[in-house]
Subunit: 246 residues, 2 copies
């Protein structure tokens, strides 16, 4: 049985400050939890009788009502686990020879989750986030990654400093409405693609560091259309273009 | 001032049955409302003093509190309008020589909105939806299209009958995990791309009608990754691939 203190503790992890103090985050549902088991240290696991997982021996059995009392989901699933946050330190990040993403102040938790899932699909191992980007360990993002968080490293850092350092070694691509047609541009096998905030795009400051600007043209060119694509959608189209065989 | 009956009427349009009885839907925010004005008959428009629109003369001035009482948004914007639903009849749909989308039982309102925005960006004018697809005129979808609904026609129809008829005239593409690599496949300038339900993909019944199956390969091929891409993301990557210059 879950004690009141335990319930209170788990619920408290829905607040960022508490997550970082405890270095602990919550994931739910057998698919997500089991994907994360391969990459993160599991501190605790609570499953109902419906949960028949890959670790049937090491979860605490709780009732559906108890699960409801600790779950962040509208429809709680069968299992909830607490994982240790990894210490992802930018200085030890290995991006040489690889394609990576940098996110500047992405605000929507769902968008961040979608981007991580896209990165996973297209074999992008590392994502650098500006300090102002929404926290990857909030429950909405964790769930939206559908387990992809297990295979993508997310770093929070001073993006300006980080990209300045990398810009001497590899191309830094900005996505921008004044960029060059991505279908005609020369795309490198390595480098960093910078995606900007949902409302404002990439800041002037970061754009100065980028040595190439890319645009996803609409079709047919010049037709009146939406002003932009959603940032998750744009990330996917760009990653697909970088990864398509040439 | 808004009467109680008026407030009740507007709120009632958040229920599908009422929308279809009244042939009326709600859109909010100046960007969305003004995009829709170019394509739909506006039945009423309510703006606060903050609203300085392209139709400054023909909206009813209301207070922020009144807007809050009729809005479906957590943070109401400056204007809300009622639009007449168009009579989109499948039999009169003109898809010959064009690329179109067909959606089978898409459940998530946000996903449908995203797909409409993607269609708009890539110049796809027509989307056929199975009867089981979420209603395009629900407020979450209308808002998620960011005005793109003004430029994309959405039809609800018996998809099987509709695609059967079209399959003799043009390619019908399914997206499927057992499909052919989209980068190697021959893609026609016209045809219909079928996207399936979020959890189950395309039904066996519809797959039989499709004469080509496409897959977005992950990278590098064969690497362990997420099991699938979100349906909005997959739609975007596929549309981009159809539209890229060859």
């Amino acid at each position: 049985m879950l004690s009141k203190n335990r319930i209170k503790y788990i619920k408290s992890l829905s607040i960022k400050k508490n997550r970082y103090e405890e270095k602990c985050f919550v994931a739910e549902g057998s698919k997500t939890v089991e994907d994360l088991l391969s990459s993160f240290v599991c501190r605790a696991m609570y499953g109902t009788e419906r949960y028949i997982g890959i670790r049937p021996d090491c979860f605490e059995l709780i009732t559906p009502a108890e699960l409801k009392s600790i779950s962040n989901l509208e429809t709680p699933q069968d299992v909830l686990a607490l994982f240790e946050m990894p210490e992802n330190i930018c200085d030890s990040m290995d991006v040489s020879g690889k394609l990576s993403l940098a996110l500047e102040n992405i605000q929507d938790a769902g968008n961040l989750g979608t981007i991580i899932r896209v990165a996973d699909w297209f074999g992008i191992e590392n994502i650098m986030c500006s300090i102002g980007t929404v926290d990857v360990y909030n429950c909405k993002t964790v769930q939206a990654t559908m387990g992809a968080l297990a295979r993508v490293n997310v770093y929070y850092c001073d993006l300006k400093t980080c990209l300045m350092k990398l810009s001497s070694e590899m191309p830094i691509y900005a996505t921008s409405l004044d960029g060059a047609d991505i279908y005609a541009a020369e795309l490198s096998k390595n480098g960093v693609v910078v995606m900007g905030n949902e409302g404002n795009g990439i800041s002037y400051e970061l754009k100065q560091i980028c040595n190439s600007k890319l645009l996803i043209p609409n079709y047919p060119k010049g037709r009146k259309t939406s002003e932009s694509l959603n940032v998750g959608i744009a990330t996917a189209v760009i990653c697909a273009e970088f990864r398509r065989p040439r």
